[in-house]
Structures are given as structure tokens and as C-alpha cells.
Symmetry: C4
């Protein structure tokens, strides 16, 4: 995929999430893998309203989150974690949103949120009767610290991470799968909070 | 009704429910009866985003949920229950959505959810002072098991079924009536949860 | 105002309330006064989806709710209460919606809901520090019973009525004022429920 | 900025907030600074539906909230507080919305709402681990009383004020920054209420 095409897709997805209230202010960021070897991602630019993005509001980064082109928008401060997740998991797209339910769930279950016997788990890529634990890590401003915490709890069958007092990361083979997993997990987290 | 016309109606209804947050991810499915003898239904295709359906994203199935045409999209995994409901109830349309309120209600009342003395019951096809019990059945991945559970609790005057930890089925003479019953029942279930 | 103009206004207002989730199914109904002497109202037709109304989906009624023209749509079953409210209060428009908050409030405070020291009371036509009591009456299918209950609790400075286990009536000089009062009162009722 | 340009921006922002349910009825008001010396603001007109504003629905006021042009719409009754906030803080735009969460938070914490260790604080212009206290003042119909209460609790690093039983004020360098701070603070207040 070319950077500008990725930018158009990212802008459209951002507008969806913003309309759902999951990217309030300029919060949240999305990325999509441009190439694997070496790993290159397109990530949303920092500091912009996610409901008003255009295809140009995107930066190309490497696996560490560092920008690889001159004269491009500043990548999101969390670009390093996007790179790390794509690198470790092999995902093609990473969604980071500030929905409320994941952060509320992490307050109640500060190590991991357990989900079981729920049909919606299928939309997250699991079976309805699987035991699923969504890892929760402490928030940090240091993407290496967050990335290490992510990697130490990483399981290939669980494509999500909650950062306490911060937000939710979900990934998938492409933005479309990542979107569906995000929507289903957010539903599951609302369910578990309210029961 | 022809299959392509049914597909257009189903796509429009899916877009409505998706916008309400009741078909998150690729969850939920809708069907409409094409003919009665033999019973044929148009059912939404499996695995698609319900906010982005087109008139072609539909499969024709028989009463057992089996596809009856070659080269069509894979019907929803729950097509068998749609067929069963249409067959037993005589309904012309079946709505299956993953609204949160029915699943929360089923956690609290695992056998049936009782509703009474509520004006909104009229929008569900009953009188305001009727005693109404919405049956709750356990979730299963086997549509025959689900169908048997549905049929054993079936009453002709109660056009809905909650599948615990899963979602809601509602039916009516057509998609329009099924929609109104779904909306009213979801309101009633939110009311009963919050009081 | 002519009936067709009233129908266009009512359809537009219905679409607004339906989008807010306050007219689920075919619930709720709106009216606007066409003339005062004798009293004639345009009221929304019975049984239609309030998000899909047109200017023709309206009936002309008298103060008792009886239709006054041949070959028009059936007026809402609650037309009689609209006529009574317009007659007693002198209002130019009556809004009846099935928002959840008023019905939840009536469960908790079955005679009247008391509001005080809230800025939003100004949007309801009162002062911020007024004592305001929204009357609650029992639900009935008989519009004369409902109308008598309304009238016995009527105060000229309180343009609203909650019908328990049913919904909310609000009125004003025109649909625009009635809308603003409805929106402010719904906010106030959510506030009072959650505190 | 010219008054008519300010009016167009204010109308667009009002439509956004109205769609979010934060300007129900005719509640809330926005302002933007037109010039600094002397201080002149464009403020939304009183009594209008915030979802239906045009570029003309705006009045030019001075630092005290008094209109400075003949034949313009009546400025919002709270124009005086807008002027005071812009004067004291140096902000270029002030947002006043009637979201529910701030008013609920003020009921629980009647002097100040404390927020800490939350990533969303960055969207409010602070660091994630800052101690942040949002001042709460009592409601009043006298803008001088409200303005004095605002000024006595004013801190340059905390661009927000909750008026108890009323609503929220947030400011920033322009309407765009004020919007993002408002959205992030509303999220934070929902979080703190629900935990």
C-alpha cells in the first residue's frame, strides 16, 4: 500500500471512531502496515482532530516509531507502541482508541480482564466458550516501557491490550478486522462492567 | 419478493441497526421470507460489516438454514434459527441484533424476563396491561439445540427470544413490524434493568 | 396554519425526536394547533415510524381528539389527550415522547418529580431557583381518565406531565418552544435520576 | 477576525455540541475573541436553538458582556462571564456547554473535582501525572458574582470551571483548542463519576 492510500483509509476509520466518541479531543491513533521487510507503518499525525483528518495527515514510521521521511507530519507520540505491536504480533493494522469502557474495566481488574462464554468473543477472533484474558498494563509516557509490558504479556491469540487510565489497543490483519475486533471487545467490556 | 429486492431491504435495515450500535463488528443478522411453500428466506451473508451491506450481500436458504443456490454468499451461521423461527411462528421477517440490554436482562433473569403494565408493550404487539414473558434460552453453537429451545418455549403471542450471553431475536409480519417490535422491546428491557 | 404545513412541521420534529431515541417503534405523537375557535389540531397519524413521516401523515382533530375530516389517516390513539392539553393550557403545540428518563423518574417518585435550583429550569420556562413539581399520573388507555388526571393536577406555570410507565407530555406556544422545554426537562430528569 | 466570520465558526461549533447533546434546548453559549485592546468578543445570541444557528446569530460584546453594536441580536445572558474569562485568562475562545457529567461531578465534589494519573489530561493541556483540580463554583444569575468566584479560584494552568447545578466552562487559544479541551474534560468527568 502507498502512504497516501493508507492515509485515506486511516482518515476514514478515524472519522468512524470519532463519531462513536472513542477519539475525543485529539486522542487515539491508528496505523496500518505499509511493508514488512523492513517494517514500515503509516500512522496518524499527532495533535489533530480525529473527525477531521485527511489523507495527508499521516506519517511513515519504522518499527521503533521513528519517522522515515523528511517533511512529513509529526507521528503520534504513541507511534513506537504501534510499531512494537505490529512487529511482535504480525498484525497489519493497529487501532488505539480512548473508549471509556476499557479504562473503567482496568480500574476494576488492574491486571487482566477475563471474558468467557460470550458470543461476541467470536467477533474478537475466539470461540464463544474460550477463556479470554485481556492484559492490562500500567500507563507510561515511555513507549519502550509500554512496549516491554505489552510484549511480556503477549499471547498470539489475544489481539488486544488495555493501558490503564489511558485506553485500548486492538490489532488485526487489516483495518477492517481490527475495527470489528475493537467494536466487539468494547461491547464485551461494557457487558462485563455492567454485570 | 425477489432475492435482490430482499437484499436491498435487508441492507437498509442493517444500516439502521448498525447505526444504533446493535450490530457491532459483524454481529447480528436479519432475514425476510421470500416464499412460504416451500419456505425460502433471504438472510444476510456471514462475516460482513452490517453498516456497509449491499443488496447482493444476501443468501437464499431453506427452512433448515441450508443455502439453496450455488455461488451465493455464505449465509449467516445462525441461518438455521432464522428458518426455524419463520417456520414455527409464521413470521415474515426475523431480526437478530446484539443490543446490550437483552443480554444484561438475561443475566439477571436467566429463564424469562417478565414485563407488565408498560405502554410500550403495545408496540410489541400486546396490550399495555398484559403479562408478558420473554423467554431466555442458553447460548449454543448448534442451531438445532437453539431451535429446539426456542420451540419448546414458543408462544404465538410473544414474538421474541433472548439468547443468554448472546443477543436478541424478534420477529414480525415484515421487516417494518419486526423493527418496531425490536425497538420497543429494547426500550422495555432497558427500563426493566434500570428499575 | 394549514393542515399540510402543520404536517410538514410535525414530520420534521418527529424525525428529530426519533433520531434521539425518544420515539422508538411507532411510539409517541405530536400535535400543533391549527385554530383556536373552534379548537382544531393537527396530530400525527397512528402506527407509523416516526423517523419516516411525511407531511401527509397527519389528521385534523377537534378538542376531544375526534377526527374532523373524512378520508384522512387515523389520528393517534392519544389524540384526545392532546386536545385536552391544548384546550386547558392554551398551548399551541404538544409533544409526547417515550424518552426513558421520565418513566424512570416516575417509578421513583410516583406522584410528582420535584426539581429545584437547576439552571436548566430556565429552558423549561421557569426561574433557576423555582420549586418545580412535574405531575405524575397513572397510565390509562382511556383518554378521558388521563385527561381528568392531567386537568386536576394542572398548573399554568408547569407545562409538562409524566404518565407513569408510559412517557412524557410537554407543551408550549409552538413546536419550537415545546421542543426546547422537552429537551431541557429530559436533561433535568436524567440529572435527578443520577443524583 | 471579523464578526461575521466569527459567527460562522460559532455556528459550526454550536452544531457539533448540539449534536452531542451538550446544548439541549437553547442552553449553552460560545464566544471567540475578535480583538484584544480593547477586548471585544463575538458571543452567540440568546434564546436560539444551538443546532440551527447561522453566522448572523452572534453579538459583539466588550469585556463586561455589554453589546457594543446597535441592532444586533441580544447576546447570551452569560456574556459577562465569557468576557471575564477571556479577560483574566487571555483565552481566545470560551465554550460553555450543559453536558451532564460536569454537573453530576459537582454534586459529588462541591468545591473542586480532582483528576490525576489519566492520559486524557494531556488533551486538557496538562501532563498525564499532574494533579489537576477543576474548580466548582455555586450557580448565580449575577454574572459579577459568578465572575468573582471564577477569578478567585483561577489558575493559569487549569482552563475550566464547573458551575454547580448548571454546566461547564472551558477555554483555549481558539475554538479548536477549546473544543478538544472540552471533549477531553467531559471524558475525564465521566470516568471519575463512574469509578
Amino acid at each position: 500500500m502507498r502512504l497516501h492510500e493508507a492515509g485515506a483509509l486511516l482518515a476514514a476509520e478515524c472519522a468512524r471512531y470519532a463519531a462513536m466518541g472513542w477519539m475525543r479531543g485529539t486522542s487515539g491513533n491508528l496505523s496500518v502496515v505499509l511493508s514488512r521487510d523492513p517494517l514500515r507503518l503509516a500512522v496518524t499525525a499527532s495533535g489533530l482532530d480525529k473527525g477531521e483528518m485527511t489523507a495527508s495527515d499521516v506519517a511513515e514510521i519504522d518499527a521503533s516509531g521513528a519517522p522515515v521521511r523528511p517533511n512529513q507530519p509529526t507521528p503520534s507520540a504513541e507511534a513506537g507502541l504501534h510499531g512494537r505491536i505490529a512487529s511482535v504480533s504480525g498484525a497489519g493494522a493497529v487501532v488505539h482508541v480512548h473508549a471509556l469502557a476499557p479504562v473503567l474495566a482496568a480500574e476494576r481488574w488492574p491486571n487482566a480482564v477475563h471474558l468467557r462464554n460470550l458470543e461476541m468473543l467470536k467477533g474478537f477472533g475466539r470461540k464463544a466458550d474460550d477463556w479470554v484474558s485481556i492484559p492490562v498494563v500500567q500507563n507510561s509516557q515511555d513507549m519502550t516501557v509500554l512496549g516491554d509490558a505489552f510484549e511480556s504479556g503477549y499471547r498470539a491469540d489475544t489481539p488486544a491490550l488495555i493501558v490503564a487510565r489511558h485506553g485500548l489497543y486492538v490489532w488485526g490483519s487489516d483495518l477492517y478486522q481490527a475495527r470489528h475486533r475493537t467494536e466487539c471487545l468494547e461491547w464485551l467490556l461494557r457487558f462485563i462492567i455492567e454485570t
